[in-house]
């Protein structure tokens, strides 16, 4: 496919890997923020091709993983109301709530439907006027425009039986939280390319300045990722901390201004809990007052939610880049994609599911030094 296969070219990959090896003189820790990037890195084995000095840690950029337990539980309670058709992106169905997940709620009779796009949820509302249709609007800045478009569409069409349960989150406050933490190890960031297609990267230079970390906007193909890593390493080695763009075919500095306008028209920042991490100030988005009628939390006053998190799951530490999935005692034993204990094992962007799928067990990592010498 165009814009895809060219960025998987073996010769060019080898070329840039050699350049990376030549550039690196000491240990560096770089975080890729986006879970989609984590998966690509593991799928192509880039973590094992890089010189051992370069450690990639995996960030919190998996919206499914960070959706707070309380909202998952709320989603399940709303979904079980008889008048409700609950719609969601497929990834959310197996995310464990305190006592069950949406998938098992569906098994017990709740009407839960998977949609590809939130506009499809509006269509369902249009075709089922006697039902309340609720959409689980999770996601980062990448997904926010699609989520809010559904609200604008419902409003424009006068559809009254549609609402969203918002768990939308923003990347920059999470970067502040990671860099400001006392145990932070991150020295450079690969910024999430698809978030930046919407938001541009004008929000990042102040972060780079404040914490003295280079930030490189990075895409998702192997060459994109290696180029992002290379540009970050060049800066680290030179003691610089600028914001750069390694994904110029999709991202501009300003981003998609009209998508940003949709977001600011409908949403305002709010404090938000991140699952496993805790409260990050002003890291969430909620519907503005004038769209309150479309807010499911307002429409369905669900209370008495008693959350109970798994006692063994360390996904919070993984999402902050402090631990790796294979350091979790439950990894591959008690916790598998069929029987997940944490959201990071469920999502197609979760670090635990990536480690499971691409077999990064503890021995593989210890073997890293020997492996990377082979190339």
């Amino acid at each position: 496919m165009r814009y895809t296969s060219e960025f998987r070219d073996k010769t060019l990959i080898q070329g840039i890997l050699k350049e990376i090896r030549r550039t690196v003189s000491q240990r560096w820790v770089i975080m890729e923020i986006c879970g989609g990037q984590t998966h690509a890195i593991l799928r192509y084995g880039l973590d094992q091709l890089l010189p051992p000095e370069v450690e990639l840690v995996h960030g919190p950029g998996c919206p499914v993983c960070v959706t707070p337990l309380e909202l998952v539980d709320k989603a399940i309670s709303i979904a079980t109301l008889p008048e409700v058709i609950f719609t969601s992106y497929g990834d959310m169905l197996r995310v464990p709530g305190s006592s069950q997940d949406l998938f098992s709620a569906r098994g017990a009779g709740a009407q839960v439907k998977v949609v590809y796009s939130p506009l499809d949820a509006v269509e369902i509302a249009k075709n089922n006027p006697d039902k309340q249709v609720v959409f689980f609007a999770i996601g980062f800045e990448t997904t926010a425009p699609a989520n809010v478009s559904s609200v604008l569409q419902a409003k424009a069409l006068g559809i009254k039986n549609y609402s969203i349960l918002s768990s939308m989150v923003r990347v920059p406050p999470a970067m502040h939280a990671i860099l400001g933490a006392p145990h932070n190890r991150v020295q450079g960031f690969l910024a999430a390319g698809h978030v930046c297609t919407v938001m541009g990267y004008w929000e990042y230079p102040p972060i780079a300045e404040q914490y003295h970390v280079p930030i490189t906007v990075t895409g998702f193909e192997p060459l994109d990722l290696l180029q992002g890593i290379y540009m970050t390493l060049q800066q680290l080695e030179a003691g610089q901390y600028q914001t750069q763009n390694a994904y110029t075919r999709a991202v501009t500095y300003e981003g998609n201004r009209s998508a940003q306008a949709l977001i600011t028209q409908t949403l305002e920042p709010c404090d938000r809990q991140w699952r496993g991490i805790g409260l990050i100030p002003m890291s969430g988005w909620k519907l503005r007052e004038e769209y309150r009628d479309f807010d499911a939390e307002h429409r369905f006053r669900v209370s008495h939610i008693q959350t109970k998190e798994s006692e063994v799951c360390i996904s919070g530490l993984i999402l902050q880049g402090i631990k790796k999935p294979n350091q979790c005692p439950a990894f591959r034993t008690l916790c598998t994609p069929e029987n997940p204990l944490g959201a990071t094992m469920v999502s197609s962007e979760g670090a635990c599911s990536a480690y499971f799928r691409y077999s990064r067990d503890q021995e593989d990592i210890q073997d890293h030094a020997t492996r990377s010498e082979r190339f």
């Binding site: 060019l12 879970g35 796009s117 997904t143 698809h194 297609t197 999502s347």
Partner: protein
């Protein structure tokens, strides 16, 4: 979730209040909303996520990136042959 894939616009139309298109993703045709990309036209490559086009891909920038990567590879070869000579 934040995965987004490149597709080529093959047809543009309105659905209710939204500007939509049909786009080709390597042989599979799907609908995408192009409401925030008023300049998008047939033949453009867009990057689509959750049925929503995030941006138009720039062929010039894609070419420039590949070019730079090629230069990097040949630079490496050049240095290696210089090393071999010295």
């Amino acid at each position: 979730m934040c995965l987004a894939v490149p597709g080529k616009i093959i047809q543009i139309y309105m659905r209710d209040t939204m500007r939509m298109c049909k786009a080709d993703f390597g042989g599979i045709t799907r609908e995408a909303c192009i409401e925030t990309l008023p300049e998008a036209k047939e033949g453009d490559y867009i990057i689509v996520h959750a049925g929503f086009a995030l941006n138009i891909l720039s062929p010039e920038e894609a070419e420039a990136t590949l070019q730079a990567l090629e230069e990097l590879s040949s630079l490496e070869e050049q240095i290696r042959s210089e090393d071999a000579l010295s």
